[in-house]
Every structure is written in C-alpha cells, then in structure tokens.
C-alpha cells in the first residue's frame, strides 16, 4: 500500500520529542502525521491505581507497547565495590556471577511515549555541561549554548505547566516557572535537615506535575505513583500536553500502532517511510519532511536498518549514554511514610556543575528517592528491608514499616566507544527488522562519580538520622536505564556528528532528529525530557523556516 504526501511533515515517535515537534510545527501552520509504534493509553482506564493490588502492578503493558531490544554481554566486574553493589538485606545481592546485569531500559511505545511512565522531573541542563569538551576535555560540545535553548525551555514549561522554585542558580530564566513549587513531603523535610547538616542546599524540584489547576487539568493529589501512569492527568506527559495542543490546531493526525521499519531516500532527500500495519502488510508513506523521534535506541536502529542512512560520519549508534545512578535506602528511627507526596520532590544541585565533584569531571544531583525506589508497598518493604522470617521478622516489619528513607543520585554519563547501539545480527521483529542491540561500558570517571554519589548519599541519610542502610543499587552492576542519550550526536562537524545544531541531517536535507539521541553529552544528572521538548520546538521552528 502506498500513501501520497498528504502532510507537510511525518513525525516518527510520539514521545517527548515527537510530540513537541509536532506541536511546534502545527502551531506554525504545517500539517503533521504523527506515527508511533505503540498504542494509545487512556489515563482514566489504563492506570488502575484505585485497586487493592496496586503495588503488584507496574506501568501497564498493552499490545505493542513494549519494544524488544537485545544486549551485548555485561562487563565483568573485576573489583570489589562495596558501596556500589546492588542488593538488599532482605533479598540479597542482585549480581552473584561477577557480570554487570544488563536488564532493561525503560521505554514505553505509545502516544506519549516514555513520558507516560516517567516521574516527570522538568530540568534545564546546566549551561557548563553543554561544553564538556572545550571546558573539560571529555565528551563533545553542544553546538548551541544555553541562551539559544532558553526561549524554548520557557515555551515547553508553559505548555506542560511546570511547577518550580523561584531560582535554580546558573539556570537563569527569562520568565518564572508557570506554577509555584510543590510543598515538600514530610520525608523530604527530614532529609532536608540532614542535607543542611552536611552543607547541601535542599530545594523543591521542578516538576511536570501541577501544583495548581492548569489548562483544564487538575492539581496533583500527592499519591506518589507517577511511574505507574497518572490517572488524574495532572502529570505533564506528552499525550496530555503537546499532543493535545497539536490536535487542537486541526493540523495533526495521529496513528498509533504504526512502527516505522525503513526509510527510503534519493539524491539528497528522504522520500518515504515504510510503516508496518496490524495485518502484517507494509504501507509506504511519502514524506516531504521526516522527523525521527524514537529515542536514543530506536532512532539509530531505524537509520541503521535503512542501509545506514545519515551515517556518513559513522557516528549513528555511537556515544550511547545510559543512566548513571545510585540509590540508597535506610531506616529512620521515626516513621516517615515516604510514599506520601510527589516523587523526587526535593533535590540538591550542589554537585551538578561539571567541576563540582572534587577530582572527578562531570556533575551529579541528589534527590529524595522514595517515589522511584519501588518500595511503596508493604510487601516490598517486608521482603527487602527486613531479612529472615518468623515471629522476629514479623515484629520488625510491624515496628519499622514506614521508616524507610531513600536518597538517589544521577550523574553525568560520559560517552565512550564501547557504549553504543547497533543492529542485532540475528534477532528481528515481526516485520523482519533487526532489533537494536545495546552495549554499555562504564569508564573510570563514571565509576569514580558513582562512588562519590553513593558515599554522599550515605552521609546525607546518616545526617538525617537514617543510618541503618538496608539496600543500595547502582548502575555499576545493574543496567536499568531510565534516561538513554546520544547515538545521533549533533554538532557542527559532519565528520563527527550526525545532525547539525537544528537537528537536521548533514547529508539529507529533509531528515531531522528530535529526541535524546542528539545529545552530545548527558548533563550532570538532569532529567532530559524538558531539554528534549526544547530542542524539538527549536527544530520545528527551523523546519517551518525552511
């Protein structure tokens, strides 16, 4: 089947980047066909957080909502890293065979993409973290600076309804956050006293969750379950924000369950995208302009599967950066019940600058990790926090339930040549398209940063009164990525980058990328969604100008 070009632009991927790009183009008068490999989700019916077995549920899976990837073998763990080994007192060590566990990256296919599942932190990248090569001799510089991105950050924050504090230091703002910050939870305030004791600033995090009603959406009621999908629709996922706004223009058509499997190109232009259909047939859709926004794993997969399209530099799939994280849980003498409140409600930016960690290039940030610890329910607490069984176990569960505090940290993940996405040589999807294969290897600086993050987390917890550590997890031995970046780096040099400063292929004049694959560096632990939105809005503006 072949479909003529009834749109000005075809966008592949309806997540953080594709949704923002679609909106940005539609509001400027362009017509857009927005494709996604996954289904639609209905917040009212797909996120059953009112049911008694809520703690046994993760973000719901629907047909085609989970893509398949494969992993290259995990690294051998040749050293003892007591602070970084993942596991809990109740369950035991996560890794027992001395090999980094390559488990998963969090990716939702569907209208809204992974923002459906994300916590909803809304961060601007540290300005200095965009100049990692020229300032610090690592990674690559962004071909733009913070000032060029700032107006688009502001646009995105306005549409999403970001709630944040008056100031975030070096992240200067041309306008205040549209909504006031969320109040800190009781557990976050306990951690705040510890942060103060160790000299850390502890402030309200900027969040894509409504602190007041906004654009017809209700405010958050602090249920703590953002990662399971928000049935109230106060979380600023892309389906409820950019896509709604794009649809309101009357110039956006959405097609769920439409995986792109190949791109056709001729001379210096992309001409069509081949899309799989539910019946197994393939539709050829003519594409006057094509925007790829499938994320840092699927975008390079699609390019590589299209005979290496846009890979003139050899950089497609290279420079993969996954989430560098630590998470430490400890018991406080007094009950906290940290599942109450907005996840990640409080944050410390003190070590976020690339030169803030003594002796280690690349920054990090610390935050209240209760919401992302996957410990909200009684059963998980009983099994992870309290070892053993019998009456003594039961007594401990009864006396300590609700006493957990968590401090998490995310840090700069430097790219290296052993971390990449390529095509699996054998595994294919139902349309015969090779699956993406992820390889990840941590460098010395990454491990050093992880050590600092874990050590400081222990200090913060202890200063908060929670010195009985019962679990810790880290990406040192566990690939469990929420943020994946790089693989189609942007830059001014066609020989070392895939797209230019506006996200346009150096070689193909109507091929654009608007997702986290264009990041030349990861930032110092910032959540990437807001930066993806901003870059996509900037790309959309450029496409309209063309």
């Amino acid at each position: 089947m072949s479909t003529e070009a009834n749109w000005d632009v075809v966008v592949v991927g309806a997540g953080a980047g594709g949704a923002a790009a679609a909106y940005g183009m539609c509001r400027r008068g362009l017509s857009v066909l927005l494709l996604d490999a996954g289904p639609r989700f209905d917040p009212a019916t797909d996120y059953p957080l009112t049911q008694a077995d809520w703690e046994a549920r993760e973000f719901p899976e629907k047909p085609d909502s989970v893509g398949k990837v494969t992993f290259a073998p995990g690294e051998k763990l040749t050293r003892q890293e007591p602070l970084l080994a993942s596991g809990s007192r109740g369950i035991g060590p996560m890794v027992t065979d001395g090999v980094r566990l390559m488990e998963k990256y969090h990716h939702v296919r569907g209208i809204g993409g992974t923002t459906l599942h994300f916590t909803g932190e809304a961060h601007r990248i540290h300005p200095d973290a965009m100049k990692m090569n020229s300032r610090f001799g690592v990674a690559a510089d962004w071909p733009i600076d913070y000032a060029e991105l700032e107006p688009y950050y502001t646009q995105a924050e306005e549409l999403v309804g970001v709630a944040g504090p008056q100031s975030q230091g070096v992240r200067w703002r041309s306008r205040p956050f549209p909504l006031p910050p969320h109040p800190l939870s009781y557990a976050a305030k306990t951690l705040g006293r510890g942060a103060k004791a160790v000299g850390l600033d502890w402030q309200a995090n900027s969040r894509a969750a409504l602190s007041q009603a906004w654009n017809g959406r209700p405010p958050c009621n602090y249920c703590g379950a953002c990662n399971n999908g928000c049935p109230r629709a106060d979380k600023g996922s892309a389906d409820l924000t950019f896509i709604q706004a794009a649809l309101a223009t009357g110039r956006c058509e959405i097609r769920p369950n439409s995986p792109a499997i190949r791109i056709e190109a001729s001379r210096d232009r992309v001409v069509a995208v081949l899309v799989g259909r539910a019946d197994g047939s393939i539709e050829r859709i003519a594409s006057p302009n094509l925007v790829l926004a499938c994320g840092a794993v699927e975008t390079p997969r699609l390019l590589l599967a299209s005979d290496g399209l846009a890979n003139e530099s050899g950089e497609v799939g290279q420079n993969f950066m996954d989430t560098l994280f630590t998470e430490v849980g400890a018991l406080h003498p007094e009950p906290q019940h940290g599942r109450r409140g907005l996840p990640n409600d409080a944050i410390s930016w003190d070590f976020n600058a690339p030169d803030a960690i003594p002796g280690v290039v690349g920054g990090c940030r610390f935050y209240n990790g209760a919401g992302e610890s996957e410990l909200g329910g009684l059963a998980a607490f009983a099994l992870r926090a309290i070892p053993g069984w019998g009456r003594q176990h039961a007594q401990s569960v009864r006396s300590l339930w609700g006493h957990a505090l968590h401090v998490s940290a995310i840090g700069e993940r430097l790219p290296n040549r052993d971390s990449r996405v390529d095509l699996d040589p054998t595994a294919r999807d139902r349309f015969g398209m090779p699956l993406a294969r992820i390889a990840s290897s941590l460098g010395e600086l990454d491990v050093a940063r992880l050590r600092f993050m874990a050590k400081k987390s222990h200090e913060l917890l202890a200063a908060s009164g929670a010195s009985r550590v019962y679990e810790s997890y880290s990406s040192w031995d566990w690939f469990y990525a929420t943020h994946v970046l790089g693989t189609c780096r942007m830059g001014n040099d066609p020989g070392s980058s895939v797209v230019d400063a506006f996200g346009c292929s150096h070689r193909w004049r109507n091929l654009w990328i608007a997702d986290a694959s264009v990041f030349p560096s990861s930032g110092g632990g910032e959540a990437p969604a807001l930066t993806i939105h901003a870059l996509a809005l900037r790309t959309a503006e450029r496409i309209r100008e063309r």
Binding site: P93, A382, L383, W389, R398
Partner: protein, 159 residues
Amino acid sequence: MKRRNVLALLGALALGGTTLLRRAFAPFGQEAEAPAMAAVADTMFPGGDGLPAASALGLHDRVLAMSELKTTITTGIAWLDRYAASRGLAGFAALDEPGRLAALDAAFASNEQGIRSFVLALRLQLGLAYYSDPAVKKAFAYTGPPQPDGFADFQEPPA
C-alpha cells in the same frame, strides 16, 4: 511486584516476576505436601498480634498451585522431612516451632542443589502474598491504593 524484588531468585528459578500475585494458577496436585507446606508457611509468616497466619489465608495452597515451583517444592519439602526424620520425627510438620525455624535456617545454609533457592522462593512467594493480603495490610497504616484520594497529609508526620 517490582523486578528488583525478585532478581536474586532468577538465577535459580524461572519465576514470572511482576505478575506473580495476579496470575491464575493451575493446580498440579501436591496434596501429600500440603501439611508440610502449611507448616512452612506458618513458620515463615506466623501471624499473631492480630494478624492471621499464612495458612489461614490459604497461601500454602496458592504456592502449591504454582506449577513452575513444583520441582523446587518437591525437592525442598523432601529435604525438610529428611531433616525432621534425622531427629526421630515423622516429618517437618511434626517439629515444634523452634525446630522448624532451625530446619529452615539449615536449609537456607545448605549447599545442596535447590535447597537454598527453595527457601528463597517460598519466602518471596509467601511473603508477597502475605503482605499483600487485605487482612494483613489493614493492620498497617498507609497501605491503601494511591488513588483516588492521594495523601492530603503528605507534609505532616504520619498519623
């Protein structure tokens, strides 16, 4: 249930992970092992102080009905019964509570194939089911579903 709660078992057992509590289990018939399994369940999760014992909730039957655990359970129960027999008793269920706890500790410390993983698997499966049961959760604060009410008291000390 979240994946990090079960990862330690994956090397030893082919467990389903996140849907364990919701799956409809097909019984595979281990009636002979039911008394021992009930004893194991109640030793691990004995209740008291207003809480029910695990067997009173029927959790031993639920675990016995998990076909993927059949071999593990058969091997483990046989080991526990041999432990009891070596002390002159008819089987694990005939041990008193200290004796049962000692048997489970010995099984957990055992190097014999499948015995430690048997204890881990039962702790996980019984524990997940026990502490997810409404009759148990109602004895603990803040265990209800997140919605529709959220937590209006999130800034305050727990009630």
